[in-house]
Amino acid sequence: MNLEEIIQATKTYYCLECGKCTSICPVARYDPSFSPRAIIESVLLGFEDELISDRELFSCLTCYTCSQKCPADVDFPIFVREARVIAQDNGQRGICAHSGQLRSLPRLMANPDIKQRRLEWLSDKYRISDKSDVLLWVGCAPYFEPIFDDIEFRALDITEASLKILNFLGIEPKLLPNEKCCGHDMLWTGDIETFKKLAEQNAAQIKEAGVKKIIFSCPEGYRTFKLDYPSYVSLDCELQHISEFLAEKIEKGGLKFEACPEHSEGTKKKVTYQDPCRLGRHLGIYDAPRKVLESIPGIELVEVEHNREDSVCCGTSAFTNCDTYSNMVRMERLSEAKATGAETLITCCPKCQTHFRCAMVDKGEEKRPMPKIEIMDLVNLVANALGGEK
């Protein structure tokens, strides 16, 4: 698409210049040079080249806070996404955190000839079955494991907890041994060619495996499969995030939790919940995770000041342009979480966890102390509440 087509497709020309987007944008709150309104205005006035060569194009978190408030219904995140494709063709790629390896890995995975060793962490504790028609999407967890070793984040803990839950419910899921990256980061940074390759290979693998249902423990993968894959490949199966799956089970009465072992009768563990942008604003799933949290005895959910639609993003999307401003967004979020008096911040997204943990071990800490709070994934909390080694 050229910019003219992007403007048509995302209804950018409807912009009223009211500035609601900029006033609510978490990046614009700290970064004075970033403004969704100014970006749209400059494009509508014909300064297209300026936008394409602007570093700030990659600062957008694509968190949908702006579009949600937009009275003219401009789809700003999609506008940014498509503009990045043009920027990518012009050599602009944004600055990728963690030395860019998180972008090289999907590009390597896009090669059809490689045979990954992504399931070596599997132990006999978990039951999986090749005949099953339920697939558990593992995603980037095996790669996050070595990369985020030093911020004490074990992404595979989330996958293992998901497996434990599924096994507990009598489901022996299938895992794809050569599953490729879902391509989320590639798509949102404008590398559409790699995204297409990844999507095609994934779709072919899923078709061949005869999968009827895919369960995700990552909102980004879920979003990509649900909203982006249909435009490129055909997938004929049911998609569900693990929180939706659990909420459904609880509703049907098929799942009961034991009280948290570390909490004696009468006391409640206070937790708060971070709505991941991909699960919340992108897909509108706010209630399922809350329902799961509320059904665990001994857990009390306290909401942060900005919750649900207004929730503040974790500060970086697709590991691009992570800077001081991103850290300020995180600080705001962590302070809010701390202010609730909760012991633990629960989230559903492995990337939220990465970014918050990374911020908490940041070296600039002495000058601006980052609030410290325990962070945990929803599935880990649920797996603990299932009790024993079942």
Binding site: Q101, S104, I147
Partner: protein, 143 residues
Amino acid sequence: MAEFEPRIILFGCNFCTYAAADLAGTTRIQYPPNVYIVRVMCSGMINPDYVLRAFERGADGVMVAGCHYTDCHYIDGPVKCDAMFIKLKRLVHVIGLEDERLRREMISTSETTVFARIAQEFTEQIRKLGPSPFSAVGEEVTV
């Protein structure tokens, strides 16, 4: 089909490994022409993406080489490099490349024969492994 000639990228530090390669050249010690050297200031500045990109562009093997622990011009470069290398090795393993395609060495300036021997060894090792899945098959190597 022509015989497989491995393409090996060596990231060598300016003060030791690169100097060793240079000295090997001036003292006319033979080593295989398959090794392409990328000079970096210190082995501690090599980040995993350099190596991943080398693989992505079709390198059959990558070697990361620098000073010995006590020789570093920047004091703790090799320590940083080691920490990076542990992560990198795990990543390369998960992505599905053979562990032998990646090698970490410490070669000091005066160790010209050591450099030539390691270059020889590594080239043979890669030759036995065959081309990497990312290798551009049949493409002529031009320098």
